[in-house]
């Protein structure tokens, strides 16, 4: 009996479930080579814990105990079913041999969670399935929670997960951290999924606010796990970017849920602890000299975080970082953000020239924020007719309720 765990047993089991169930699951998936078999084994292992720990005490290493019980339960289950299906008998035998040969050292167990992330974010799965599977298997969100967060039905999410698991099994997507040669591209896919989960929780303003901040927190947890297990500069950059965004959450919406632009936010509400953690990570990523788009965006966010006000921000350095980012990504949205930084640095006229040139290229003509930017700069230059027309166009394109409220308010202010 471990003397430190002397609380009432169900609470101890519950605490261990919360802290360890995903790690145990990740290891069981590796050992058993099958998601469904592993999930069943995880359930069986915890049922055994609830039955046995009150009599025998909580084992010294609960995680190793759960893995060990889980894998034997899985073999038992296969043997029982094997009476009806000969190929299952072979599978149980092969599994038995394989398990005997496998070591369960601490390092191996930690790697399992990373393996699980890389499997769930394999590019041979659809992007929707990557997100759903990661949230289900790595973060332990329920199918209902995932459905609510992405505004789709529960059966849709369930079907995505089932299809993805079938493809992993039938196409034999391996359960491994990719080799060094494949790592950069595969890590890119993992980081994209993590950032997508974060953005869904941070930027989309429809749905339940609580569910959304939960989603961002899951993404940050995944980011921390990645940095801990695989300290690559871009993984650090992404974690830093998420922390720096998250630090502004209390200031970025009004009590009515309307967005507050960066230059109008109460900087006293920004979370300083998250900023400090984000800044340290950005510095570490930039020092590596192997940084990419996430680190650059995080560096820009860090300059905002350091500035006492919008006016006192180092806009020249922000424009410089955007220059590099435009070259790295070729994204017109990044160019739009650069134009807004140029406006802060060299005046609204210079910014408006860039925004108009971008729109003239025809790339962002469906993007409401491009018109919103044109409107804002025209307004600052006193060209009110142009501003009104651009706000109107932005309103035609905007989907989200709060964005529309904001644009409608600006239009009213101009008409007054």
């Amino acid at each position: 009996m471990n003397p430190e765990q002397s609380g009432p047993l169900p609470a101890v089991v519950e605490a261990i479930y919360r802290a360890q169930s995903r790690r145990v699951l990740a290891t069981l998936i590796r050992l058993l080579g099958d998601f469904d078999l592993a999930e069943e084994a995880l359930q069986d292992a915890f049922i055994a814990a609830v039955e046995q720990w009150p009599r025998a005490g909580v084992p010294e290493n609960p995680r190793a105990w759960l893995v060990s019980v889980g894998r034997f339960k899985a073999i038992d289950n296969l043997r029982r079913r094997a009476r009806f299906n000969a190929s299952l008998a072979q599978m149980a035998m092969a599994l038995d041999d394989r398990l005997d040969a496998q070591q369960m050292d601490q390092d191996g167990l930690e790697d399992d969670r990373l393996r699980l992330i890389f499997t769930c974010c394999h590019p041979a799965l659809t992007p929707d399935a990557q997100v759903a599977l990661t949230l289900r298997e790595v973060c332990d969100l329920t199918t209902e929670e995932i459905a609510r967060a992405f505004l789709v039905t529960t059966p849709t999410v369930a079907q995505r997960i089932v299809r993805a698991k079938n493809k992993i099994r039938d196409a034999r997507i391996p359960y491994e951290v990719p080799a060094a040669a494949e790592l950069p591209e595969r890590l890119e896919a993992v980081l994209r999924v993590v950032y997508l989960v974060f953005n869904e929780g941070y930027f989309a303003s429809s749905g339940d606010a609580l569910t959304r901040s939960e989603l961002s927190n899951e993404a940050i947890r995944l980011g921390r796990l990645l940095v801990e297990q695989l300290p690559e500069p871009e993984a650090m950059g992404l974690l830093a970017l998420m922390l720096l965004h998250e630090s502004r959450r209390p200031a970025r919406t009004t009590a009515q849920g309307e967005p507050v632009l960066l230059d109008e936010q109460d900087r006293g509400l920004w979370n300083r602890a998250l900023i400090a953690e984000g800044e340290a990570l950005v510095e570490q990523a930039l020092r590596s000299r192997r940084f990419g788009p996430y680190s650059l965006q995080a560096a820009i966010a860090a300059l905002h975080a350091e500035a006492p006000s919008a006016a006192a921000t180092d806009w020249a350095q922000i424009v410089g970082l955007y220059d590099v980012l435009v070259r790295a990504t070729g994204s017109p949205v990044v160019e739009l953000n650069r134009a807004m930084a140029v406006a802060m640095c060299d005046g609204p006229d210079a910014g408006l020239t860039l925004v108009n040139a971008l729109l003239a290229r025809g790339e962002l003509t469906d993007y409401h924020l491009a018109y919103s930017a044109r409107a804002d700069l025209s307004r600052r230059l006193g060209r009110l007719d142009e501003a009104r027309a651009a706000y109107g166009k932005a309103l035609e394109l905007a989907q989200q309720g709060p964005d529309r409220q904001f644009l409608e308010r600006r239009l009213r202010e101009l008409s007054a």
Binding site: A124, N166, A171, P174, E176
Partner: protein, 121 residues
């Protein structure tokens, strides 16, 4: 002269119509062709939902879920390879020279669901 015979079918009805072939019949026919000495290789494939498309553009490997949907592309050849897992198959597919201009659909071969003793050792 070698010929590649490609089996096209609606997956939804391939196994479900009264006249749909059973795996035993497929195996028996492939054995018959093998015994006639004219067989090089024949395999059934897993469902199209297990397909992965691989392309190589400017030295960068692109991997996407699903079969390629370019109707402008036609089947130009095939490789039947033995790989450890999908990652290895993707690496092999990415190096096929045509991957630089076309798309390679990677599909796992399906084991026919027939009793062990019917299969060749």
């Amino acid at each position: 002269m070698k010929y590649l015979c490609l089996v096209y079918s609606n997956e939804q009805t391939l196994h479900s119509l009264p006249e749909s072939p059973r795996d035993e019949e497929c195996l028996a026919y492939s054995e018959a062709v093998r015994e006639s000495g004219r067989m090089i290789a024949a395999e059934a494939l897993e469902s199209v939902q297990t397909a992965t498309t691989v392309r190589m553009r400017n030295g960068k490997l692109s991997i996407t879920d699903g079969p390629f949907a370019e109707t402008k592309e036609q089947l130009a050849g095939f490789y039947l390879v033995d790989a450890r897992d999908l990652n290895e198959a993707i690496q092999i597919a990415g190096q096929i020279p045509a991957a630089r201009v076309g798309s390679i659909e990677v599909r796992p071969v399906r084991t026919l669901n027939v009793p062990q003793q019917l299969r060749q050792a």
